[in-house]
Amino acid sequence: MKKENESADFFSRLWNFFASIRLTVVLLLSLAVTSMVGTFIPQNQSPAAYFHEYGEFFYKILSVLNIFDMYHSWWFQLLLLMLTINVIICSLNRFSTTWKIVFVKIPPFSVAKFRSLSTKEEFTSKRPIKELKKKCEDIASKKFSYCRVEQTDKGFFIFAEKGRWTRLGVYAVHFSIILLLIGALTGSIFGFEGFVNIPEGETVNSIELRKTGQIHNLDFGIRCDDFSVSFYETGAPKEFRSTLSIIEDGKSVLKEDIIVNDPLRYKGINLFQSSYGMLPPEKITLNIVSRETGMAYKKTAKIGQPIEIPEGMGTLVIKDYRDSFNYKSLSLGETFIGILNKKDGNSINIILPLHFDSFDKMRKGDFIFSVTEYDNRHYTGLQVTSDPGVLVVYSGFIVMIIGCFGTFFMSHQRLCIEIAKSGNNYKVIVAGTANKNKLGMQARVKRLSQNLARL
């Protein structure tokens, strides 16, 4: 028996711990403060970079605390989990009370409560009671969704109310947070995030996962038919566009262009335009001019394979292509680099920038080399994701917005108009309550009463 008591006691203590708003405040503030850390320390860099930045001692401390991937660390996730439990328990604790208030067939009213309100509007009217009653009822039923009249010996009451359901708004917001958590969890368990570079004209069937670097096979092939990039006059990029085909069983089943902000979705997998680049050329055409004879020759060369130089002067190997190349602090842009093996046994480096045709002249060699043509192919860089949790997250978003609106800007408003005979006239008292924005309700009651008095 004693044990049972103890466990029940433990359970209720745990329940009370999570039912506390003080815990909510502590958790929200802890999340706010800890989240800052990850914005000042860049996340998910290479260990070497961190080691270099912070030194061995701090590197060790920070990596034990998972600071370098803190938003996925156990302690940050624990804070999020605790907040969610806190939200659930707090909501459950209060929900049954709210439920009883919201779902009633006949809304209860207590006249005494309205009579005891400190802010009431009063006026006297000389009109006949029937007319008065009709006017009051008209106005109340127009402004409120529920309206009820009760007869008394001296006159009557009108009760009206609206927005009873808005008491549920806060539960909607809390429910949306649970939806977000479920959606995020679904995504992280069943989804993936990866990338792939596809050269123009080629097809891939697998991608590389971002987190682990593993290869993930897809059920279909993706072919990049074309990639293009356009620029504004200012030089800023205007559009990155890839033409993609989805290949199934060797056949193209879908062809679509994607640009940034307009991805391709196929069988639950999303393809996003993410980056691009140039493939290193494989074949170039060289123009070779002999200084002695003035003759010009055209020769094609494959990267890495030597070609004979005319007039029996030796061989040339194009061994490398660089996207950018600096020569004596001068930036040359895309450049081929070759080695010239002269027949006398000497070999020298040849630098062939694509955008400076006569660069090689400066070398003052027997031959002047320049690049006239080369094959240039783009590759498109795609972000490839699958996230079955997105729909849940999005529904959470919608519920949150509606819930916030209901919670903050709508309220459960109740109105009571009491009409009682006093002497030859009738005394009219208008009073109202709201569960939120009480000042606003006071103003509304005042306006309503003025409306009635004017009749």
Partner: protein, 278 residues
């Protein structure tokens, strides 16, 4: 006259409005107050006209887009929203002293946009990541939220000044709205801001998911907007469920606004995906 010139003029109109509001508060005269309201109104109209002109100009340049794409444009929109929200409050509460605290924020925001050498006021074409229908919804929601928080900040400052003078002896504080009104107004502004901050974060997440393939990636701007959200969520819970009000709420509201400012400006110093907002 192009939009940049017009908005430079608006800067000075707002500056004048701020001076008028402050002098009406200090000298307790009605005339500068009345002038202040009309000057502020004129400024807000000019501000809105400037935004629309800039929109039209961008179409004439052939790069048409909503003027919400960089720091200059966001600051101009920010000042316009604060001015409009403030004018609505002035009309509702019939008190001009709040203007002495709100209008300087409006002025500083647009003055920083117009006069800072670090901020370029040319209309620039949109980079591919910003070409989306979500741009307008996302930026507008965020800045409506920021503007409401800015006003809550001003009112919280007023609350803190006023509550120090319990006996009502101070000459300057005597015409401040009642403490309860200030407290209530802070709360209302925070709820308004919280709704729009939530919408801003949500539209941003949906947009990010269509541009980058992930609705949340803990980029510093995202994270700081969430930090701001946590702080104001704390304020709302503490107030509604634990009955905090007055001084404590004013302090949290001020801290919240500092977080807003960091989300807006400070994050640009950190590396991340939102770098075009500089």
């Amino acid at each position: 006259m192009d939009s940049s010139n017009l908005l430079s003029v608006v800067t000075f109109v707002y500056g004048l409005a701020a001076i008028l509001y402050i002098s009406s508060w200090i000298f307790k005269k009605t005339l500068p107050g009345l002038l202040a309201t009309w000057t502020a109104f004129l400024g807000a109209m000019g501000n809105a006209a400037g935004i629309i002109m800039r929109w039209v100009e961008s179409y004439k340049l052939g790069i048409g887009h909503a003027p919400l794409s960089n720091m200059y444009e966001s600051l101009v929109f920010f000042s316009c929203t604060i001015a409009v929200i403030y004018l609505v409050i002035e009309r509702t509460y019939k008190n001009r002293i709040i203007g002495a605290f709100a209008m300087p924020i409006v002025f500083l925001s647009i003055a920083y946009a117009s006069l800072s050498p670090n901020i370029r006021d040319q209309i620039q074409p949109l980079i591919p990541a910003l070409k989306s229908n979500w741009l307008i919804a996302h930026v507008m929601a965020c800045f409506l939220g920021y503007a409401a928080f800015a006003i809550a900040f001003g009112i919280s400052l007023m609350y803190l000044f006023k509550q120090r003078d319990k006996d009502g002896e101070s000459y300057l504080l005597s015409h401040f709205p009642e403490l309860s009104v200030l407290d209530n107004l802070t709360h209302q502004m925070v709820t308004f801001g919280f709704l729009f901050l939530s919408i801003g974060i949500i539209t941003g997440a949906v947009w990010a998911n269509s541009a980058w393939g992930s609705y949340w990636s803990w980029d510093p701007k995202e994270t700081w907007s969430l930090i701001t959200w946590f702080i104001y969520a704390t304020l709302l819970h503490a107030r509604m469920m634990r009955g905090w009000h007055g001084k404590r709420i004013a302090y949290v509201s001020i801290i919240g606004f500092l977080a807003v400012m960091f989300t807006y400006f400070g994050v640009n110093l950190l590396p991340g995906l939102h770098s075009y907002a500089q």
